[in-house]
Symmetry: C2
Subunit: 149 residues, 2 copies
């Protein structure tokens, strides 16, 4: 994997801020022609540097007002931990990070209510044979900000 040059970084930054920006506008911002920008974006996509595009959502309005971070640890530490595979089909789990520290994984989950969280935690424990530690998010001042590149 070779480096990503300055102009590509600018394109990436612009697309992180507005994933639907047109190639025409990207060209105006970067000083390149539409074709040149288009080709660069396609190469960024092919190289996997841009993995895709997504809508940024208001989860509260969508009926999932409760976010939490769930740290998990196997009940039986002698067994291999396949939690990511075991939990991948639980749609309430938005993200799964393997982490250093006392616990193996940190999950970010979104649910409709405290009771839905309770039920989800039971499901996670049962499926992956883990203990859970949960930190409830009260509010989110900011999220999904553009990268420092």
């Amino acid at each position: 994997m070779t480096g990503v040059e300055q102009i590509d970084r600018q394109i990436v930054r612009l697309l992180a801020r507005n994933g639907r920006m047109s190639y025409t506008d990207l060209g105006k911002e970067t000083g390149l022609s539409t074709s040149a920008v288009h080709q660069r974006v396609r190469r960024l996509e092919q190289r996997g540097i841009i993995k895709g595009y997504t809508a940024v959502l208001d989860y509260e309005a969508l009926g999932l007002p409760l976010t939490a971070f769930v740290s998990i640890k196997p009940i039986d530490p002698s067994q291999p931990d396949d939690s990511p595979e075991l939990l991948v089909d639980i749609p309430e789990i938005e993200a799964c990070h393997s982490v250093a520290g006392d616990e193996n994984y940190i999950l970010k989950v979104r649910v409709a209510s405290p009771s839905a969280l309770e039920e989800l935690l039971a499901r996670i424990r049962a499926k992956a044979n883990v203990s859970t530690r949960t930190i409830v998010v009260l509010s989110t001042p900011y999220e999904q900000r553009a990268p420092a590149i």
Copy 2:
């Protein structure tokens, strides 16, 4: 805030999976005309349910291979905690969540190296007058998955 109906939820789900999907394709998926889909998307944007669109990036390829969760707590708990405002101009901070529990906020940060993380933590402590606790991410099996709606 009124409810979001079924067809709107489907549109949101599709745009979460592919933020650049055309209105034509959205119409084919939902069984609506292009115009009807377009109008619904615009209303979802105006209502703030769709806050925007963003590119999903490979941070490793972009030179930010190290992700961490940084929990922060004021040195002086008697003072009001304005950490989000104090830290908002630090671009390495991708997200800031106010949380229940022993600490006040959880930050998600992306940096180039361990030494860059060390320097960032010093900057966070100095700017917000907080103590920090850091959990380093080793790998991310999945992230930014489509919501369970």
